[in-house]
Symmetry: C2
Subunit: 364 residues, 2 copies
């Protein structure tokens, strides 16, 4: 049904299998730092959701960074808030404001009304997955994604981004029953959403727990990780005879690395505060690791970009270990790429990762 | 010269000495959640700096929370940006906007012009310290404070708060020489500033590294912790025959707990993402720990506030250990108290900390 995959380094690294080089992709790699992205967005009416809901446009922008750079994976162009939007919360993106929901979930009645959305409302997402997979023609694997149950709940309760998460945390501490009901619905919705992406052609899936790191120790395990774990348990992990790796990325999740590594994920994403070598020593025999360059490094001169990329690779170390075979490392930033990044810096980064990681594999 | 200290539990906990109960104070305890604070601020002209630069007003608002609650320490009412303001950067607080500098430090010329400010320009701070110490009349100790060299540099380069710290990180990666020069000047200025606060009457000092946690592993050690260490090395640690404890609080500093504990601080402040019991096991024989309730807990009903306070105390455990005597714990929030906190919740919290920690000391 699908074209043969030509570059499977990303999938192999996720599964801790031998790789030719350390695969690299960048969170938000199809985005505003690319002039061609901005041009397509303007053509599509100028809005983010205009792009994301148009299958041809979503396909085009997903592939744009792959025309420029030797990236080892593509990621569906979409947003984590498509799921609560399909629940009827009324998503909009105000100019320069970030996302906003017209109908935030703040009281018992609103929580009672919540339900797993009809996946037909998200058909534009699944159609985009299939279209992108076809357009990739086996060049690199396609990653599908979703927000974590907790991260979706943050936006659903706050109604927008927040500096202190006061509303959602108040509900968590004052009415944990309401919070748990939201999280149960979200976990079911995310599970179905990701499984349908896998049916549509996604070869790996990533759960973005962007706001897990705002929780207190104890609350994180109970209100974020527990529901991510439920999603992972419900995912189909084989498709067309191939393992579908699941990546969990908790921004600010360093304090809970061991617990996240035990959640059932194949890969744990790390932000730049984590020492990659120390993380590998702690959990690298159980899961692959993804990360973790500070995106701000891309504002520095090319020699600094290359040097910092090498430092990340050297912190992880050569992926083959005499005592346990291959440890998996997927190179990425520790957060989405900034819209202010000079595009030529990404080429420097990708080439440095490939060149140095090939050298690492020669030294035994 | 000074009145005898009646409640020294805070100082004793900082030095890992026996205490009657776990002392508690709250970051930003003199602040907008208190109606009497807002009243004094209005009388002083409505601005933050109007309050901070008026010795009588600063004294009054510092003591306000102590009239309401059985807090175990007072902290100077001031702002971390007084030092760069005295360097001539032109601090202002826009309505609802946060701090702003008229003359941010963004190029080689601006960096070259930087110098340790004449402490005479900060006399209003030292006068406030002396006035507050007198007004406290030995009731509880007075904490002085400063921003860390790195945190001050963030504001000095960005010119305001930032969501991505793009400018300061670009300088860090592209021109580390300029960044290091800023940090050297800041470290000298902060050292002198804190030593002068100690001379004026501060009985403990705290270094707020509010933005250390935005740095990558490696960069944190080199650009934040190294300069905090220099400040700690230059501090006078004895005054009038008493040890002056130094507290270092790095928001998001969990990944570097061991290194921060080895910096020369007597106390390490922790945010709520850190498991207090695990932190104590790792470093509690070397330093006291301060923290770490999520301030959002104060939005929940009183029984939840009390329960979560007990959970923090129980996570630390009874402070006396058979094998090594007393471990120090200063109860605090993991960040400043929110302006939206109902004041009566603070009484619940303080009383719960005192009552439960006294019970902990009875069980052997």
């Amino acid at each position: 049904m699908w074209p043969t995959l030509k570059n499977d380094n990303f999938l192999r690294a996720c599964l801790r299998q031998p790789t030719d080089h350390t695969p690299v992709w960048l969170m938000r790699q199809a985005g505003r730092y690319l002039p061609e992205y901005n041009a397509t967005r303007t053509q599509a009416g100028g809005t983010f959701m205009g792009l994301a809901t148009n299958v041809d446009c979503a396909t085009e922008v997903t592939l744009q960074p792959l025309q420029r750079y030797a990236l080892d994976a593509a990621i569906l162009f979409s947003d984590i808030l498509t799921v609560p939007d399909a629940m009827g919360l009324g998503l909009s993106f105000e100019q320069g404001e970030g996302p906003r929901f017209a109908h935030p979930v703040r009281d018992e009645a609103a929580v009672a009304r919540l339900a797993v959305p009809d996946m037909a409302k998200l058909r534009y997402v699944f159609d985009a997955v299939t279209s992108i997979r076809k357009a990739l023609a086996g060049r690199v694997p396609l990653i599908g994604f979703s927000g974590s149950p907790w991260t979706l709940a943050c936006y659903m309760v706050e109604g927008a981004g927040s500096s202190d998460y006061r509303r959602v945390k108040t509900m968590l501490y004052a009415r944990p029953d309401l919070m748990q009901r939201i999280l149960e619905v979200n976990a079911q919705a995310v599970t179905t959403y990701l499984n349908t992406q896998i049916d549509a052609g996604a070869q790996a899936v990533m759960i973005f727990d962007s706001w897990g790191g705002v929780l207190a120790d104890g609350a994180f395990q109970r209100f974020s990780l527990e529901y991510t774990r439920r999603v992972l348990q419900g995912l189909q992990r084989e498709k067309d005879g191939a393992r579908v790796p699941a990546i969990v990325f908790t921004k600010g999740g360093g304090p809970w690395l061991d617990e996240i590594a035990a959640s059932g994920a194949d890969v744990v994403g790390l932000d730049w505060t984590v020492n990659l070598g120390a993380a590998r020593a702690r959990v690298g025999a159980r899961v692959a690791l993804q990360g973790n360059l500070d995106p701000s490094v891309l504002f520095a001169p090319p020699d600094v970009v290359a040097r910092e990329a090498v430092a990340v690779l050297d912190s992880f170390g050569a992926p083959q270990r005499a005592d346990r075979g291959w440890d998996g490392h997927v190179f990425n930033l520790g957060h989405g790429i900034s819209q202010f990044t000079p595009p030529e810096q990404v080429a420097v980064l990708v080439d440095a990762v490939h060149a140095h990681s090939r050298r690492q594999r020669l030294v035994r």
